[in-house]
């Protein structure tokens, strides 16, 4: 048969065609922006459009190291992202267990309910939180009319309000991978554990949890990564001192118009996020 080389070439071509969109996406939306950021970070700020002149200047990076303001912003962002992802996981497991425990025909409606908040605008949802939490808001109004408090409780512009908004926004990303892992879990394993004397809580911690840990890690990352760069929720719900990296980035870009510094900051955040991704890859390979 003379088709060996031809079919190999065909296979290669087909693989190329299949992978082309992926490569285009990676080049256009990942590699190119990072490259632009790198070029920008070494540029010199200037008045004009664009607000920098090209060059090889390390001042932006030096600034990140010298001024603790930026390191603190990075740390604050990481703290918020870790807390958000952790709280999301704690809430996501019971939700996912509940969704996986019902009859299969109820799963899709429950999934739709979980995604329901996404059908309203992001800012609209934050507006709803503001409406609930502000001094004349629903909760304070209710507390006062029930006579529980006589002055409004400071709810809005607090760490708690910010965390509530973050968890509300990102919770589905934690639920979905855990839910998927739970419905794939062989029910015979849970029955075998019960048969060997394990009560339901023990079954969960000795069988269900270890076998869904990679999914939990995926859920953690899916929340952690966008949460680390989040700037709208801290801005609208958080206290003024919650200067997370996203907010600082926004200020450097649009208020101070120091694009090189902002670009250096964005690169630092990116570098920091690569670490947990590597950790997750190892966990995935181990499972």
């Amino acid at each position: 048969m003379g088709g060996g080389i031809g079919s190999a070439a065909f296979c290669l071509m087909r693989r190329g065609i299949l992978l082309a969109p992926l490569w285009a996406w990676l080049l256009l939306l990942v590699a190119a922006p990072v490259l632009i950021l790198v070029v920008m970070a070494f540029a010199t700020p200037a008045d004009g459009v664009p607000p920098f002149t090209l060059g090889l200047r390390f001042a932006a990076f030096a600034m990140l190291v010298e001024d603790f303001y930026y390191a603190e912003a990075l740390l604050a962002a990481l703290r918020l992202a870790v807390t958000t992802a952790g709280v999301c996981l704690l809430i996501a497991y019971p939700i996912a267990l509940g969704m996986a425990g019902v009859q299969p025909r109820w799963r899709l409606p429950l999934l739709a309910l979980l995604m329901l908040p996404f059908w309203t605008g992001f800012l609209l949802r934050l507006g709803a939180w503001i409406g609930l939490l502000r001094d004349e808001g629903l909760i304070n109004h209710l507390l006062r009319s029930l006579g529980i408090t006589d002055a409004p409780l400071p709810l809005l512009y607090t760490e708690g309000a910010m965390l509530a908004g973050m968890v509300h926004a990102y919770l589905p990303f934690a639920v979905l991978p855990i839910f998927t892992a739970l419905i794939r879990l062989d029910p015979a394993l849970l029955e075998a554990a019960a048969d060997l004397g394990a009560r339901p809580a023990r079954v969960f911690f000795s069988v269900t949890l270890p076998l869904t840990l990679p999914a939990a890690a995926a859920g953690f990352l899916l929340v952690f990564i966008p949460a680390a760069g989040e700037f709208v929720i801290p801005e609208l719900l958080g206290p003024p001192e919650a200067q997370v990296i996203g907010r600082v980035l926004w200020q450097e870009f649009f208020q101070n118009r120091d694009w090189p510094l902002a670009a250096a900051l964005a690169l630092a955040l990116l570098a920091l996020l690569i670490l947990p991704i590597r950790w997750f890859q190892r966990l995935g390979a181990g499972a």
Partner: protein
Amino acid sequence: MLIATALEKRFGAVRALAGLDLTINAGEFFALLGGSGSGKSTLLRVLAGFEAPDAGALTLDGQDLLPVPPWARPINMMFQSYALFPHMNVAENIAYGLKRAGVAGEERRSRIGAVLDLVGLQGLEARKPQQLSGGQKQRVALARSLVMRPRWLLLDEPMAALDAGLRERTGLELRALQRKTGAAFIMVTHDQQEALALADRIAVLEAGRVAQIGPPQEVYARPATRFVARFLGAANVLEGRMQDDAFESAEAGGVIASGLPTDTIAIALRAEQIRLTGADEAPCITGILEDAAFRGDDWLLIIRLQGGASLRVVHNAPPPAPGSIVGVAWGAASVVPLFA
């Protein structure tokens, strides 16, 4: 004694258990034999506590078992899929139940060692389930149950996932283990050979009920119903009715037995108890030899009777040519009257 009384279980429109009554004795090897949908697996899951029956009672040595959750029942189960924990190695899998029972330290180690010896798995303690062959997985599953020293062990199709070559030997080992431990083994199977070969008693299940229960030889030789006779394989079932003292079968084409109870509606005849008649002997009935298959020790003959029914006959000598007219005969003692 494990006693099930009038167990009922419905799944939607399907009645998996339909008023099932059953008594299983301590220390016996008991087989639940039935086709798919006979309710045998549902019964096993009710015994283990994974399904609650809709109605009926279940007692163990006089104690009501139904309110007892699976983790507190003194009954262990070996799963058809083995259900080994993939994130634990062999030793950890076997230790799982001991840890729950609070067996620790030296005793735990020695019991795990002993059960590994028992099933012949020494040296594989550190392997993960994914690194084991099918037969090894089956032994780990067995060891994980046996290490609990259960008085009652449920086995769900324990050999269904094994190669045919491994099945016979494993079956005999299973029975030896049952004798050695003295536990009652309750085995679900759809394989009548397996049930006949291993069990002390067999219950044949049909549509959520026990069709017949008894020792293998008795169930095999004296099937109670047409279903049992057909399910156990080798028996021919010929339908008919008693006319005075004679059993007349239209599908056989005449009178084929006599002196049976008046409510007999069919007879069972084992293939190996039917013989071809020689020239000097009057046949019970005649037919055309349709087919003959050599099976090594003997031939299996298919004979089309005058009334249209076909008869399976085991024959020990070279048979006549297909198409010949042959006579068949059997002793009166080999006729099993069936009433349902």
